[in-house]
């Protein structure tokens, strides 16, 4: 009896989530339509909805807060200007990623040569604080530094996969490269990261076993 009740609750919860997702998609579609017609408030709401994921993704790519926020702002401005060319066949998030990634790559090209190496970045972020926080911060800084040490091409694929959670096909579409290239760049990026992080972190983290 109790089991039936729990099952019903689970089903209802799942249904509720599905309804919420559908509702959210409807709201987003409505916002996009209004923004395409020139409604700035609707576009503002879209910015609020996607701000964090876009900034986060770009930060993973360039490792600089200011640069990430500038590129994200630029991406939203470009998105506003070219909203007419957006087609609902692609998720808005992916479309924004595409624009943001290109904006970030442009910036990285300009910044090339001024990047710090993995060690200096790790040290740079080391700040006083409780020991656990320090460990977490250090680890995050090392991971970020390792990602930054990859070539821009493989780093972009890795970031889109790990943080953007996009499929290989979606990544191939965004970067306009074949699927095979996405796979080989991802293989390279992960192998390289395992080498880099194996040197820096506890062997258990990335041990082959």
């Amino acid at each position: 009896m109790g089991d039936v009740h729990v099952n019903k609750m689970t089903v209802n919860k799942e249904k509720g989530q599905r309804v919420l997702i559908t509702k959210s998609a409807e709201v987003e579609a409505d916002l996009i339509l209004r923004a395409q017609q020139g409604d700035r408030n609707a576009f503002g709401e879209l910015v609020r909805r996607h701000h964090r994921e876009v900034v986060d993704l770009v930060y993973r790519m360039c490792g600089d807060v200011q640069l990430a926020e500038d590129a994200a702002q630029e991406a939203f401005v470009r998105a506003w200007l070219h909203l007419d060319s957006y087609r609902p066949l692609t998720a808005l998030r992916n479309w924004l990623y595409r624009i943001a990634v290109n904006a970030a790559l442009d910036m990285l090209r300009r910044e090339r040569g001024t990047g710090e190496d993995i060690q200096s970045l790790a040290l740079h972020d080391r700040q006083p604080g409780p020991e656990t926080l320090l460990v977490q911060k250090e680890r995050a800084a090392l991971v970020q530094a390792a990602i930054l040490s990859l070539t821009p091409a493989s780093r972009t694929v890795l970031v889109l996969r790990e943080y953007g959670e996009l499929s290989y096909q979606e990544i191939a579409n965004i970067l306009e490269v074949p699927m095979g290239t996405v796979m080989s760049r991802l293989n390279y990026a992960r192998n390289r990261l395992r080498e880099l992080l194996a040197e820096q972190l506890s062997p258990l983290e990335v041990e082959d076993g």
Partner: protein
């Protein structure tokens, strides 16, 4: 010697494999400890990458949205007229195709009637349809309709068209019509392709715009 599936482990981890490839990797993983360990290593790396959130402070969403709002330039609303022009893209080839079908049917029927007429089965009931010394049916009809209103030039033009047998069964003229439709159709295809290409290049330019400093 066992062939490892190392190159497919990333795709397997990301759920990108299917069909025979997936079964092959699954079967291999079930019996190969080395590949299982490598997969575990990749899984750990993925977990490590995702668990470490950036240790930095981003601008709060509201302030970021306000900053973006300040930078949004004025944008012309999407011209509604363009939507109405869209059907023209398929109406043109559809019209050409309809014209071609009409021509084929007309010529086919005409050939059939001629063939049947020559056998004498229809007596002379179809004689008026045959192109001959006399002007075509449509020329005669047009002459009768506009008899009172036609000036000299108009009459000459009509006579010329009648003699040239523009709508008649002349093989050369038939071929001309076919070529004309084909040229229009290919012309439209090229124009459409150029238009699409232009649109695509514009879209690419959008995504590669230089970042404003």
């Amino acid at each position: 010697m066992v062939e490892h599936v190392t190159e497919w482990l990333n795709a397997y981890l990301d759920g990108e494999l299917n069909g025979m490839r997936l079964i092959r990797v699954q079967t291999h993983l079930a019996e190969c400890a080395t590949c299982r360990a490598k997969l575990e290593g990749l899984r750990n790396l993925s977990a490590l990458l995702r668990e470490t959130s950036p240790v930095v402070e981003f601008t709060p969403t509201e302030r970021f949205a306000a900053q973006v709002a300040l930078r949004l330039p004025h944008r012309e609303p999407h011209p509604a007229g363009r939507e109405y022009q869209r059907p023209a893209w398929w109406l043109v080839p559809a019209g050409l195709f309809a014209a071609w079908v009409f021509l084929q049917v007309t010529l086919g029927l005409s050939a059939l009637l001629t063939a049947v007429g020559q056998t004498g089965l229809l007596d002379n009931t179809t004689a008026w349809l045959q192109a001959g010394q006399q002007p075509s049916v449509w020329v005669m009809t047009a002459s009768n309709l506009f008899a009172g209103n036609l000036n000299e030039t108009g009459r000459q033009l009509l006579q010329f068209l009648g003699e040239a047998d523009v709508l008649g069964g002349n093989l050369f003229v038939q071929v001309e019509w076919q070529i004309g439709i084909a040229v229009l159709y290919w012309g439209w295809l090229i124009f459409w392709w150029l238009h699409q290409r232009h649109g695509k290049m514009e879209a690419e330019a959008v995504s590669r715009l230089e970042v404003m400093s």
